[in-house]
Each structure stands twice: as structure tokens, then as C-alpha cells.
């Protein structure tokens, strides 16, 4: 019951903030509302049991990307200007946005999302001792019999972050290394553009 209420509250904050981004009259204030929606999303991650991801969301999005966005906003010439956020192309924009939303919603609803049990089994080499909090969705998976329950006799004590580290280094190693190349490319590209 409380979980439901909390979810509704956090989701409401996120959505209202997202709408406010579009409706605000000053660019800076739009950016601030965006930051609030980032915080809301972090709250949603935490409710889903992805604690590391939620904390990373705050660290990277609120702490770093928001700063980048705010600095970029400062680049706009008339920082204090107030302008109406509405223009006249209402029908076309509604059609475009509506169809995009429809596609995303249908895809999200009907897709077969893999559950967390893929990374949590003892077969992975990391035994999960009793009491490790795996989050609500994993608990559901255990209850549904899709995932073996925690082994109370397990000796190792890893936890989700360690599992993440391990899978980064083994199954997803290529993605991990490519990530660094992507970051490098982003850095070089931004510097090249900014220097002009």
C-alpha cells in the first residue's frame, strides 16, 4: 500500500516536472525542472530495487549532466529572456508526438523484457547469501519459481554491485571497452566543435 502511494507520488513528480520543462517561460527554469525529473527517475530506479543505478543516476545526471545542460543554457544569448513556449504548429506536433508515444508505449508493453534472474544465479560463480536484498522484481521472480532462492550456506558475500562488476568484466567486456572509445570520441568531438 505504501509502496503504491510512494510510486504514484514519485511518478507524479517526474511527469509534472517533465511537462514543466516544456511549459516554462525561461530556458534556465526549464533546465531546473529537467533536473527535478532526473531526481524523480532516480527515485523510480530505487523503488525498482536498482539501488546502484539510482545512485548513479543522481551522481551522473543530477551532478554532471545537469551542470553541462545549465552551462549550455548560459550559452544562449539572452539568458534572462522570457518567451512564450507555445507556437502555432499544434496539430502537426500533436500527431508526431502522439505517434512516437504510441510506438514507444506499445513496444514497451509487448516486448519480452529479460528479468534479473539472468545475472543472479549461483551458476554465475557468485553465490548469493540469504538476506541480500535483490529488489522487488527479483523477489517476485523467486516466488514465481523462475529463479533459485538465495542459498543460506553460501560463503561469499558479493551483493549487486560486485555482480555488476563481474559481468562487466566477463560477459559485457566488449561493450565496456567500446564504452571508453565512445567516451573518447565524445570528448574529442566536443573539443573540436567548441574550439571553433
Amino acid at each position: 500500500m505504501i509502496e503504491q502511494g510512494a510510486f504514484i507520488a514519485i511518478a507524479a513528480v517526474t511527469l509534472i516536472a517533465a511537462c514543466a520543462v516544456v511549459v516554462a517561460r525561461t530556458v534556465f527554469v526549464s533546465a531546473l525542472w529537467l533536473v527535478l525529473s532526473f531526481v524523480g527517475i532516480a527515485g523510480l530506479y530505487i523503488m525498482a530495487g536498482a539501488y546502484f543505478l539510482g545512485v548513479v543516476q543522481v551522481l551522473v545526471y543530477v551532478g554532471a549532466i545537469s551542470v553541462l545542460i545549465l552551462f549550455a543554457v548560459m550559452l544562449t544569448r539572452n539568458v534572462m529572456a522570457e518567451e512564450s513556449p507555445f507556437n502555432r504548429e499544434t496539430v502537426i506536433s500533436f500527431m508526431v508526438v502522439g505517434s512516437l508515444f504510441g510506438v514507444l508505449a506499445i513496444a514497451g508493453y509487448t516486448a519480452d523484457w529479460p528479468l534479473t534472474h539472468g545475472a543472479v544465479t549461483p551458476a554465475n560463480g557468485l553465490a548469493v547469501p540469504a538476506g541480500t536484498d535483490l529488489g522487488a522484481s527479483a523477489a517476485l521472480a523467486v516466488a514465481a519459481g523462475a529463479m533459485p532462492a538465495a542459498d543460506p550456506g553460501a560463503a561469499t558475500m558479493p551483493g549487486t554491485v560486485a555482480m555488476l562488476g563481474r559481468s562487466l568484466m566477463s560477459e559485457h567486456l566488449l561493450a565496456f571497452e567500446v564504452m571508453s572509445i565512445i567516451l573518447l570520441v565524445a570528448l574529442v568531438g566536443a573539443i573540436v566543435i567548441a574550439r571553433d
Binding site: G165, F176, S180, L183, L187, V188
Partner: protein
């Protein structure tokens, strides 16, 4: 949940209310005699010169950008460090490659003057 994130939420609300309580107390206690000169923007006691916008230096943006990149790198470093004792020696090499590539980025930014403060 066995983790006390509920406490975090409660604590956040209470932490938010502390400044509000302070503001309320001050509102009750302070004098309220405002005037046009008091309320004008402060510029070393002189009148405001020019519009209130500043020449933006791209340096700020570049610092924030390099920061974002290294922040993301940190996000990858933390799980690696936590899982380190369970990983084979090769994991060190893998991380070395990762850091080397980003190190190249840092050196590039350095040489191109992105890290200079104007």
C-alpha cells in the same frame, strides 16, 4: 525492503524542512523596511552597468564536459573495484585498457588547451 531507503526519503523531507523552519523563524523575527535603493542590484555600490548578461566563456562548458566523461568513467570503476577480489588477474588488464583510452582523452584535452582556465 531490508535496506532503509524509506529512512532516506523521510530524512530528505526533514532535511528540506530545516531551511524552511529557519526561514519561518526569521520571517517572524526580522524588521521589514525595504526601499528602492536597498532593493537594487549590488554592483560595488554603483548603478548597474549594461544588461545583466555576461560574455560566456566556452571554458566552463569544456570543464563540465570533461567532468561528465570522467564521472562516467568513475561509474565504471566502482563496480570493478568492488568485484575486484572475485575477478581474475586479467580484469586489471581490462581496466588498464579502459583507463588508457580515457587517459588519451585527458592528454588530448590537455594539449588542446581545454583544461586551461582563461
Amino acid at each position: 525492503m531490508s535496506e532503509s531507503w524509506v529512512f532516506v526519503a523521510v530524512f530528505a523531507l526533514i532535511a528540506l524542512s530545516i531551511p524552511l523552519i529557519g526561514l519561518l523563524m526569521a520571517f517572524a523575527l526580522r524588521p521589514k523596511r525595504s526601499g528602492p535603493i536597498k532593493n537594487s542590484t549590488y554592483e560595488c555600490g554603483l548603478e548597474t552597468i549594461g544588461e545583466t548578461w555576461i560574455q560566456f566563456k566556452v571554458q566552463y562548458y569544456l570543464f563540465a564536459l570533461v567532468f561528465v566523461l570522467f564521472d562516467v568513467e568513475t561509474v565504471f570503476l566502482y563496480p570493478w573495484a568492488v568485484a575486484y577480489n572475485h575477478l581474475p588477474l586479467f580484469a586489471l588488464v581490462e581496466m588498464f585498457v579502459f583507463l588508457f583510452i580515457l587517459g588519451v582523452g585527458l592528454v588530448y584535452a590537455w594539449r588542446k588547451g581545454a583544461l586551461e582556465w582563461v
